[in-house]
């Protein structure tokens, strides 16, 4: 009977503690999520204004892609160029940028090999 009391106490205690801890986490995460979102929105607005002032003629990546096509000797399919343009956009983000040409790199090692070498030789 003593053990049963312990079991019931544990049920109540466990239920309460697990829920309390997790509800506390909900509150904290919701609050800081809102704060961070608000902070980032305001900083993005500021950035956007700056970019507009500094480079009004900056081409958007979508506009850059059709320009690229003539510079490419038809060897590279359009889909690949779209992917490369997207990757360039992901890296440069809001900074003004323009793709002038897409050319296949001629290297003794394959790009996978290069990636492997880079990974193993990069300092800790």
């Amino acid at each position: 009977m003593d053990n049963l009391t312990l079991a019931l106490t544990l049920l109540l205690a466990g239920f309460t503690i697990v829920f309390l801890v997790l509800i506390l986490l909900i509150i904290v995460i919701t609050v800081y999520g809102k704060i961070i979102q608000a902070a980032q929105k305001s900083s993005e607005k500021r950035k956007a204004k700056k970019i507009e002032q500094a480079a009004p003629a900056a081409a958007s990546p979508e506009a850059a892609v059709p320009e690229v096509l003539p510079a490419n000797n038809d060897e590279i399919p359009g889909e690949i160029i779209a992917v490369i343009a997207a990757a360039v956009d992901a890296v440069y983000g809001n900074k003004p940028h323009k793709i002038k040409a897409v050319r296949r790199s001629r290297s003794a090692r394959s790009s996978w090999g290069n990636a492997g070498v880079a990974q193993n030789t990069r300092p800790f």
Binding site: L8, L10, A13, G14, L22, I26
Partner: protein, 440 residues
Amino acid sequence: MDIFNQLGSIIVGLFQSSGLTSLSWENYVMILISFVLMFLAIKKQYEPLLLLPIAFGMMLVNIFPGIMANPVNQMMTYEQVIAQGLDPASYTTSSQLMTLEQLKTAGFDPTLYHLVTLKDGSQFYEVIYYNVTANGGLFYYLYQGVHLGIFPPLIFLGIGAMTDFGPLIANPKSFILGAAAQIGIFLTFIGAILLGFAPHEAGSIAIIGGADGPTAIFVTSQLAPEMLGPIAVAAYSYMALVPIIQPPIMKLLTTKKERSIVMGQLRPVSKLEKVLFPIVVVVLVALLLPDAAPLVGMLMLGNLFKESGVVERISKTAQNELMNIVTIFLGITVGATASGTLFLNFKTLGIIALGLIAFCLGTACGVLFGKIMCWATKGKVNPLIGSAGVSAVPMAARISQKVGQEENPANFLLMHAMGPNVAGVIGSAVAAGVLISVLK
């Protein structure tokens, strides 16, 4: 002729020291069970990463129990050393002075020992002891990682480095479902007490309902180490059986209309939120519940490695090499705790039955709370994601996705179910902390 005699005695000696003469029937039964588990791991691919080493460890320890033997550190008299067939010259000695009465009560023959007269004139017999030591078996040493609670937190480090808490950050209310699925643990605890298990044993059985292997092993190693074998086997078996156990319960508790609810897309989560998340969780949980700190702390450390993006190499090591090495050691040594006499008794049957009940109750509580959330949000939450609140990452979330898609093929619940799923990992670690702090 001498050669033949020696050859004969060597062969007889080998036979006598082999398992054929020393093993009991329980060992043979366990070897057969290990064969079945190996079959399930290899042919059916039931959690093979763990079940295979567990089954092999189980087989090895039942063929050669010495592999799990404790190291020996014994004091022996000269006669005992000779009787054991050992060489007295190879051990260090220590001596003890005894009176004649003490010598007689210890059953030693006074004529064998020196009589020493001290300065005050009192006389004692000097008994010489040999410090006979022997190393333990291989698995004894590897098992220390489980016994001392080292391996499960290391596995959590790897899990943390592999987990994306994004869906949970985007929808923090998922934490409720992760908590609800832990109610099964505490309900099962009552069941185990009613079946006559001692409280510390009942706690270890109940944690199977958390559906989290490392957590179950961690709690059991702290509360009832002697039950580690059956509990680990039950926990991992049920995790492998999630696709069979969960769907009937989920369908039973929900209506067709509820199952076809389509949930809106999750908001994108920024990197800063993801980096802050592990730190915030550790600070809160470890402050409130120090017993959960080893598990939650390592889980979140691994996650911080991943999300910070500055220690890619460490993050990779934690999720691959380190995790694999620890998994091997954890698997074989947990399997090696399942020696015949410990495994083959009625307690094991109770553990396996109660473990299943715990698992089902956890799933049911998750789905029921999912229904409550569905009602509270006026039908915006699909209750099927509640069953993912039992950890078993990512299997339980995939089941939510599958069952949801049976009703509405265009419904994608997977990311919504990942929220409760990873919340379940944190929830079961918190529940483990509660069990340890109350029962230890």
